[in-house]
């Protein structure tokens, strides 16, 4: 899938791990693989600054242990808050952002409130609280997803992992 980046001269590949997020001010091909985890991409068409995280669990307050400092990007809600905060520091108006949501497969709990769906719920609710419109989403189902986010164009290439449902 990384070969797609050959179409974008100057774009640097970057692997986004679980619980990691970041701001991308230069052309980057951010790649990751999602199962029940959720990735949110944010892109400002005016500044071409983009952001993305790969979160494992829905709400920070439900899982964080006292005294332990964790990355905000382990959780969907704190991940969104953190990215918006970082973008604001760089002068990006959150209401100009184009947002996409991916992941949230429910391999073991299809049709039930598995962690995948709860991750997606956390994403859409947190984004709504920030009044950020989701322009596109590809979530749910039983299969994992391999993603490549081209930060300066806002394109997200997706490939399913596994057999069709």
């Amino acid at each position: 899938m990384l070969r797609l980046l050959e179409r974008y001269p100057g774009a640097t590949p970057y692997h986004l791990s679980i619980g990691e997020g970041g701001i991308f001010e230069h052309p980057t091909g951010v790649h990751t693989v999602l199962g029940s985890c959720v990735a949110v991409t944010l892109h400002c068409p005016h500044t071409k600054i983009a952001a993305m995280f790969h979160a494992l669990l829905p709400h920070q307050k439900d899982f964080q242990k006292p005294g332990i400092v964790e990355s905000p990007y382990r959780y969907v809600d704190s991940g969104i808050d953190a990215l918006i905060h970082e973008l604001k520091k760089r002068g990006v108006n959150k209401h100009r952002l184009h947002c996409k949501v991916f992941g949230g497969a429910n391999a073991m709990f299809f049709n039930q409130h598995g962690v995948g769906m709860r991750n997606v719920e956390a994403a859409v609710q947190t984004l709504a609280a920030h009044r950020i419109r989701i322009s596109k989403s590809n979530v749910g189902g039983k299969r994992g997803r391999k993603l490549l986010f081209v930060t300066h164009t806002n394109e997200v290439f997706l490939k399913y992992v596994g057999k069709p449902e």
């Binding site: 997606v120 859409v124 449902e165």
Partner: protein
């Protein structure tokens, strides 16, 4: 050649999708959910299915959620395998969280796109749903999902 079913009560919305999807295959149009179900039924009776349905939600007669349910029941009735089922892409101006969740987890649509959208988003969706060959033709070997 790919076969698309475009379902929207707005003539301009149908025309925009036809312009984009028409580059990749043949498009049939439905002005509401009921027409979409009828077109799907006649296609399945004739022994073929649409590759992708682009479905609006708010429509007269039969809304998008109900139409998707009917279409999936028809596909079940014809014993279509997962590979042979139409890919469902919801294209809507509804942006509330409940709608996004319902589209994916009740309707089991693969992709949600909010209006207004760029044509590139539709084309990208064709690649991502495996209907148009990705430029690299890569595989998934060695991939471990979280």
């Amino acid at each position: 050649m790919l076969k698309f079913l475009i379902v929207d009560d707005s003539r301009s919305a149908r025309a925009k999708l036809e312009t984009i999807l028409g580059k990749y295959g043949r498009c049939r149009m439905a002005e509401d959910g009921k027409q979409a179900v009828e077109l799907m039924e006649s296609a399945l009776r004739a022994g073929h299915n649409y590759d992708l349905v682009a479905m609006d939600l708010e429509m007269p007669v039969l809304d998008g959620h109900a139409a998707i349910k009917e279409i999936r029941l028809l596909e079940d009735k014809h014993n279509l395998s997962p590979e042979d089922r139409a890919k469902m892409v919801v294209v809507t101006s509804r942006t509330d969280p409940q709608t996004v969740l319902r589209v994916h987890y009740d309707d089991h649509a693969q992709t949600y796109i909010s209006k207004p959208y760029d044509s590139e988003e539709i084309e990208q969706t064709l690649v991502n749903l495996g209907l148009v060959e990705p430029p690299d033709g890569g595989d998934h070997e060695g991939v471990v999902a979280c």
